[in-house]
């Protein structure tokens, strides 16, 4: 039982949640290909996808006809088969495994900017037509539509992997967790506990629209998350490190396994000496990488076109206006190879791209779904995404990052008299109308007289999106993408994303510390 109340826009790293939950939704192990007698991955053609979902062009046409029978102007069908697996190590044993299988089709009908939606988990003509009729009720006329020719949209391949996850059985994954666990405990004698999760997903999607677009995609995701607890002089601290992406198992090389173990321990031990910074406004330097969370909250959500066409975003009247220094350019990109937020096609069947939010300091483009692109009379940008077939698409981010700038990391740190250097984060949130945004700094350093001094931890930072963009005064040339398992939430739907940033200095932003 659930009633959706919150329309929160937020982002979280899933690892921090994993380390905490005793009860985790579901993921499996075993060679699924045999269980389902199915083909896997990139070898599949359109007919294979039709077979996979037990449908035909004829049935699709009938469902489309039903969906548009009450006067809707457009409809789309989103078929999905998603298989997810989790295996976990706790107290040195890999002794828990979970899986989830989701299978169904979502049917959306549009009339102008109004949306009717229904889904069914039974992919039969009867159930699909019933769902189509339900979605069709957003309109109220009567109409017959002529059959449209279905044409396959060819899509790029931003996430090739060597072996599909469904072909990798659980016994192949277990040694990874055991190796990491051994390394974690041998790294430092202060380590007392470790939790490690290996998760993967494969999602088969097939999209058909009433405009004749047909597209399919196979979307992998792989992740290892390591949580470590350490004890020193009777005090305990816990931290984590994870790697996630549209990757195959080949991504978890010995070097990456080593990183997972070493970084998680290092980040935990750093917390023992950490102090609380002063409260109030100060200069903040953001380390390259996952500090791109700043962009995700400060501008990303505010640039989602649905908020702007409804005039409820603080960026609603700022297109083509200067919003930042000339050396600031920010993109939202679907095309980064194997990065978590990349998509070959969006969940409305639209092609994807790299979209400039800010180009040389000027606000350039919103992130559009179909409805917004039509409203603004622009080309769709490929940002229409949905959590699953059970959800209707809305404008969402993909990989949101800032391009490299003219400065250097060392000069940036040296320029700060009194501030903080923010390195690792757990989550953030934004109120897109007022522009208030926050992100939580799990660890970092004080900067005093141009040098990194004491470590800091557990500090929330809050600012105003447009103001902070103006206050980005230095941007280095060392852009890095975040590598963690980031999930963005909006209107009750979560989608995987990533972000990136070079080393950046913000001249002032409010840091949650303690006033002395």
């Amino acid at each position: 039982m659930a009633h959706k109340i919150s329309r929160r826009k937020f982002i979280e790293n899933s690892s921090k949640g994993l380390a905490a939950a005793a009860f985790i939704p579901y993921f499996l192990g075993g060679d699924i290909t045999k269980a389902f007698g199915m083909q896997t991955g990139v070898d599949m053609k359109l007919q294979d996808y039709y077979n996979h979902f037990g449908i035909s062009e004829k049935i699709i046409r009938e469902v489309i006809s039903e969906a548009l029978s009450r006067g809707g102007d457009y409809c789309d069908l989103y078929f999905q088969h998603a298989i997810r697996n989790y295996i976990g190590l706790e107290d040195k044993a890999v002794n828990r495994a979970y899986s989830d299988i989701a299978f169904g089709v979502g049917i959306r009908v549009l009339k102008g900017d109004q949306t009717g939606y229904s889904f069914t988990e039974e992919i039969t003509p009867k159930a699909m037509k019933l769902a189509a009729q339900t979605a069709a009720n957003i309109a109220d006329a009567s109409k017959r539509v002529s059959a449209v020719e279905l044409k396959l949209r060819k899509i790029p391949d931003y996430y090739p992997i060597q072996t599909p996850w469904e072909s990798i059985s659980i016994d192949k994954k277990i040694p990874y967790l055991q190796t990491i666990n051994d390394k974690v405990f041998s790294e430092d004698s202060r380590v007392i506990k470790s939790n490690i999760w290996f998760t993967n997903e494969t999602s088969y999607i097939l999209i058909v629209t009433s405009e004749g677009v047909v597209a399919f995609d196979n979307q992998p995701m792989g992740q290892i998350s390591v949580s470590v607890t350490a004890e020193q002089n009777g005090k305990r601290e816990q931290n984590y490190f994870d790697l996630s992406g549209r990757r195959g198992i080949e991504f978890f090389t010995p070097a990456n396994i080593d990183r997972l173990a070493k970084e998680s321990v290092k980040r935990t031990l750093a917390l023992f000496d950490a102090v609380k910074p002063e409260a109030g406004e100060m200069e903040v330097v953001l380390a390259a990488g996952s500090s791109g969370i700043l962009l995700h909250e400060a501008i990303g959500h505010g640039m989602e076109a649905d908020f702007n066409r409804k005039d409820v975003s603080i960026f609603a009247d700022k297109i083509n206006k200067p919003v930042a220094e000339k050396f600031v350019s920010i993109v939202d990109d679907a095309t980064n190879p194997n990065i978590r937020g990349s998509i070959n096609i969006d969940d409305e069947g639209n092609p994807t791209e790299s979209t400039y939010l800010v180009e040389n300091g000027i606000l350039k483009s919103y992130l559009h779904d179909r409805i917004s692109a039509q409203h603004y009379k622009v080309k769709p940008t490929g940002n229409g995404r949905r959590e699953s077939f059970r959800h209707m698409p809305q404008p969402r981010m993909r990989n949101t990052y800032m391009l490299p700038g003219p400065h250097k990391k060392d000069e940036i740190i040296a320029s700060v008299k009194k501030g903080i250097f923010a390195e690792a984060f757990t989550n953030g949130q934004v109120f897109i109308g007022a522009g208030d945004f926050t992100f939580y700094v799990k660890s970092g350093f004080l900067i005093e007289d141009g040098k990194l001094t004491k470590p800091i931890k557990d500090v929330n930072i809050i600012g105003n999106g447009p103001q902070v963009l103006k206050d980005i005064v230095m941007v280095a040339d060392d852009m890095e993408m975040a590598e963690g398992g980031w999930t963005c939430g909006k209107n009750g739907q979560g989608v995987p994303v990533s972000m990136g940033l070079p080393t950046v200095k913000v001249s002032k932003i409010t840091v949650g510390g303690v006033k002395s």
Binding site: M1, A2, H3, K4, I5, F10, A22, Y26, A35, F36, A93, V94, N95, A97, S99, D100, Q114, T115, G116, Y117, S118, F119, T120, E121, A131, T134, N137, I170, D171, I174, K193, T229, K235, E237, Q238, K276, A279, G280, E281, V312, I314, A316, Q429, F431, G433, A434, D436, F437, T438, Y440, K457, D458, N460, I461, I462, G463, T510, G512, G513, V514
Partner: protein, 442 residues
């Protein structure tokens, strides 16, 4: 799917899991019908309706454990599903602590006789016209409040669910219930291009307990309008009054740390604190699963353990950990329950408005934004929005500030508990007054 079919399917799954080699297993099957309506700009913006199924199977084969869910309930597919589930445990390590709860912990027939009033029978009579009408009236009410309103999105949601649960060692239970939610999100025009927003939503088990569309729409609008002119003020220690709608976040600082899992994994700042003072004596917290119509009410928890009313914190003393069966076994402790049902406090005598009138100079927090806490140390840092109050009057709306501190230090400084539990949540927390909270702003 009817109750009888669901029960038959669940019993079949348990039997088949045993045939495949599972020593124990549990099955939960649920069906739900969910409807969502959104109304904006005088028209229906979104209409969503669907039925959803799920089956969750846990298997225990020679002390190896795994859990699996699927939404494909066709018998042929489920056969493969059960076989795969059992096969999945083959390579896992044995876990001597894993098993279903001993059946003595399950609810008895007597326990099931309680009427928790989870199901509103008038749900069947609610139709499309009613739903759309309510949403449209909420939007109209919101928009009518002021010309400064840019947009109002009204929403109405309802849900009906049926669940069947069977454990191989004896639990057999069926539950059903309804929930309704309605309200609005409103955006208003501030100077300098700002567009502050706020919301008001009510959630109940019975449709006739929802406030009127007029109250829902107008309250959302007034809350948003109250934010006009919001700004941040100086950092410092302030008296803090937290509104009932949002105060549960501060109580939730204790949640993870109270779990047996966190204690067993040595990441709880409440480890070793049972029987010790963790908050001011004005705090008494009760976990009550038997509240009629409660949003968290239940006969048993996620493991099938019979629900019991418990005092979690008594006059500031920690009285109870949330001990699920598995982590209880790891610790050598009796289980309580691994999760909360409805959370109530011993309430005070003053309303929110009365408490405001008595404030000399304070910040009223009526929303949190982002932030996080550390369950190993109890440290926290949260973004806030609220109001500056001086001499009992609201002076200025506030935003873009943080509060930071440590859970034990904060709760020690609880000064007053309101008489106004928030009714639209399983966390029925009232407004709370604290001294000396650390705010950071300018």
């Amino acid at each position: 799917m009817k109750n009888r079919d669901r029960m038959q399917l669940a019993e079949w799954a348990i039997d088949y899991a045993a045939e495949c080699g599972a020593a124990q297993s549990s099955v939960a099957i649920s069906n739900s019908r969910n409807i969502e309506i959104e109304f904006r700009d005088k028209k229906l913006e979104k209409l969503k309706e669907s039925t959803q199924n799920s089956l969750y199977l846990q298997v225990y084969t020679k002390k190896r454990y795994s859990g699996h869910s699927t939404n494909d309930l066709r018998k042929e597919e489920l056969k493969k599903f059960v076989e795969e589930a059992v096969a999945a445990t083959k390579y896992l390590s044995e876990d001597e602590f894993r098993s279903l709860p001993d059946s003595k912990y399950y609810p008895s027939e007597e326990d099931f006789k309680r009427d928790l009033k989870l199901l509103d029978k008038s749900y069947e009579k609610v139709n499309s016209e009613n739903r759309v009408k309510m949403a449209s009236e909420i939007e109209e009410a919101a928009m009518s409040v002021s010309d400064l309103i840019i947009s109002a999105t009204a929403g109405y949601y309802d849900s009906y669910y049926e669940t069947t649960r069977v454990h191989s060692n004896g639990l057999k239970a069926e539950t059903s219930g309804t929930s309704f939610s309605a309200g609005a999100e409103v955006t208003v025009k501030d100077k300098d291009g700002g567009r502050p927003e706020d919301w008001f939503y009510a959630g109940t088990r019975f449709i006739n307990e929802l406030p009127s569309p007029e109250i829902l729409g107008k309250t959302a609008a007034k809350r948003a309008l109250q934010k006009i002119g919001q700004k941040k003020i100086e950092s410092g220690k302030y008296v803090m009054l937290v509104e009932n709608r949002t105060s549960s976040r501060l109580l939730s600082l204790f949640n993870q740390a109270m779990s047996a899992r966190a204690i067993q994994q040595k990441s709880s700042f409440l480890d070793g604190m049972l029987g010790k003072k963790i908050a001011n004596e004005k705090l008494t917290v009760i976990d009550n699963p038997f509240l009629e119509k409660g949003l968290g009410s239940r006969f048993f928890d996620g493991e099938g353990i019979a629900a019991k009313k418990r005092t979690v914190i008594e006059k500031g003393i920690l009285n109870n950990y949330y001990i699920d069966y598995y982590y209880g076994k790891k610790l050598g402790w009796e289980p309580t329950s691994g999760s909360a049902s409805n959370i109530l406090l011993e309430y005070g005598s003053k309303s929110f408005e009365q408490m405001i009138k008595e404030l000399e100079r304070a910040i009223v927090v009526n929303g949190f934004i982002g932030g996080n806490s550390n369950s190993t140390t109890g440290d926290f840092s949260f973004g806030i929005v609220g109001l500056l109050v001086e001499k009992g009057e609201i002076v200025q709306p506030i935003n873009e500030m943080n509060i930071s501190g440590n859970a034990l230090e904060l709760w020690d400084k609880l000064v007053e508990v309101g008489n106004d539990p928030y009714p639209y949540s399983s966390y029925r927390i009232p407004s709370l007054l604290f001294e000396g909270a650390n705010f950071s702003g300018i």
